[in-house]
Amino acid sequence: MTNEKILYLGLGIFGIVGPMLFPNYTLQIAMLWIMVLMASTWDITGGQMGYNSLGNITFFGVGMYVCAAIQVSMFYDLAEYTASYGAIKPVFTESQYFIGLILGIVAGGVVCVGLSLLLGLAVFGLRGPYFAIGTLGVAVAMREIVTTMDTVGGGAGISMPFLPLPIEYRSLFFYVLCFLLAVAAHFTIRWMFSTQFGLAANAIRDDEDKAEAMGIPTLRYKQFGWAVAAFYMGCIGAVFGNMSGYIEPQNIAFPLPTFGIFMVAMALLGGKGTLWGPVIGAIAFHIVKETTWTYLLDWQYIVLGLVLIVNIVYFQQGIMGWLKSMYPEKFGIVVDKSTNVSKGDA
């Protein structure tokens, strides 16, 4: 489809040229890719399978903490480091830092996959709104547990090691990581939904009992979908932790009332259950978020809450759904004008 090529070209050029044109906004654009990744991975279970999770943010925080723990504990005693509240200044050589970072990001993803498989056993029997509440409960529980764990700093958090590169490369370095992860996630999802997995996922969304009766191992599909989401959420959490330089459970690692719900809002705004919906929704939402942040400051979250409510109440089909109903022929939906004629013939 040519439209899609134009989108890829536009986003690709923006992704590469954007930070060069607006060097002061590099981290904001990095946030945009993080939000694209969050919304797209939420959509694997949320939009395509009908399992609306409110707790995907769990993996974001867990990945972040796993990565931080590995980076620090490879060369320091973790408990001692966090207990010192930043008195111990970590000095890493370049190779130490990058080995720790890469190991941390991968481990963050892998641990989240394991966690999602375990949690999936418990929560995937729940249907509909119970699943949403159950996963929300998981996220809140994880936040409280991390807050009580003193080895990882508890409520006070951990300050992350510094990037051993000149300071002007710092934002660019994390930008590249975020962009690459978002692209990887997008193409993984694209590939997943071009295989049999996509059909099975949509069958589960439409009628799970029938899908099961047809012999689809629904639990395994649900777990696989969630595990992919968890892997990317864990990796991006690990990157985000290093990007922000300081992590703590309440507002950065498990930001339940903000990013935890924004990712759902973005997927819905763009149109859930489509490949491009979450991407477009995330871009639109990020623009609203940044403009309200600039002009309204304290009222930002109130405006965002309003956007969420208005979106759900009055604009449920999302941008993609709206486009589809406006221009059906661009989506390959053929409006068969010959039906009336052929009826006469037959």
Partner: protein, 297 residues
């Protein structure tokens, strides 16, 4: 801690059990409200806890004028009733026919909005309203603040009033009829839209009263709402809809569980404990459902 509770000072158990009842009575109020709207209109309100906190802050506003928070209760009932009515007309009415996740998400958006609004207006500090009633000693060790007893009485009286209202009044009958079969009720001339609006507003008022009590016997903070919502969900899911004794009993059980978890595992585990109860209840329900499906098979 274990030793302290059961060997050296068993009297502490009495204290914990009493605290559990006082807190549980407040949980029971908001859980009853949730069971009401869940049963009548099939809306799951994730802003339930924020309604509670909002009621508490209404009392706080009245308290700052120099009026005793107990006198805030009538004001809060009227205010929250109107607020609930407006929320129904603007939001709930439009999501009621859609699938349940939509109502869940819409109310989550509302919850976000209320949190931030309260944070802007009243600031992020933890507040406790001082009722100046002093404490009263039960035996030598157990201290009971008088306000907690008063709040228990108020909660019981208010709950009784609501139950009697539901049983006796014309509106109560209409609500119960709508809960049984909305279509039949509509055929018989009941304006179900009006009934839904009233039910939701009543729920907001009940939460408001619970909030006033919480602000006096515990503490309120703009971001405490979500935990309250999860607690009420745990209670209602465990007790089942339309099971009033179950709701009250489960509220006390949750109150006790939280108190014991707070003492045995440390105060910071208290919130996590209530979430574990929720997850436990959901998983237990799931096992039940699976057994049911197997029987059907």
């Amino acid at each position: 801690m274990f030793e302290l509770l059961f060997v050296s000072a068993p009297i502490m158990n009495v204290q914990l059990l009493l605290e559990g009842i006082f807190i549980g009575s407040v949980f029971a109020l908001s859980a009853y409200g949730l069971a009401l709207i869940w049963g009548v209109m099939n809306v799951k309100n994730l802003a339930q806890g924020d309604f509670v906190i909002m009621g508490g802050y209404c009392a706080f506003a009245v308290y700052q004028l120099g009026i005793h928070p107990l006198f805030a209760i009538p004001v809060v009932i009227v205010f929250m009733f109107c607020f609930g009515w407006i929320v129904y007309k603007l939001i709930i009415k439009r999501v009621i026919d859609h699938d349940m996740f939509v109502s869940l998400l819409a109310t989550f958006g509302l919850s976000l909005l209320l949190q931030q609004l309260l944070n802007l207006v009243f600031g992020p500090e933890v507040q406790t309203l001082d009722s100046q009633y002093g404490v009263f000693l039960l035996g030598d060790f157990v201290t009971v603040p008088k306000i907690k007893i008063i709040s228990l009485v108020i909660a019981a009286a208010f709950a009784t009033a609501v139950v009697i209202f539901m049983k006796r009044s014309r509106m109560g009958q209409a609500i119960r009829a709508t809960a049984q079969d909305a279509r039949a009720a509509r055929v018989l001339g009941i304006d179900t839209d009006q009934v839904y609006a009233f039910t939701f507003a009543l729920n907001a008022a009940i939460c408001g009263v619970a909030g006033v009590l919480v602000s006096m016997i515990w503490s309120i903070q703009p971001f405490y709402g979500i935990i309250f919502s999860l607690r009420t969900f745990a209670i209602v899911t465990a007790a089942g809809l339309g099971n009033l004794p179950g709701v009250i009993g489960m509220s006390f059980v949750l109150g006790w569980f939280e108190q014991y978890a707070g003492v045995l595992a440390g105060a910071e585990w208290q919130i996590a404990a209530s979430v574990f109860v929720l997850i436990g209840v959901l998983v237990w329900r799931q096992i039940q459902a699976r057994r049911h499906r197997q029987v059907v098979r």
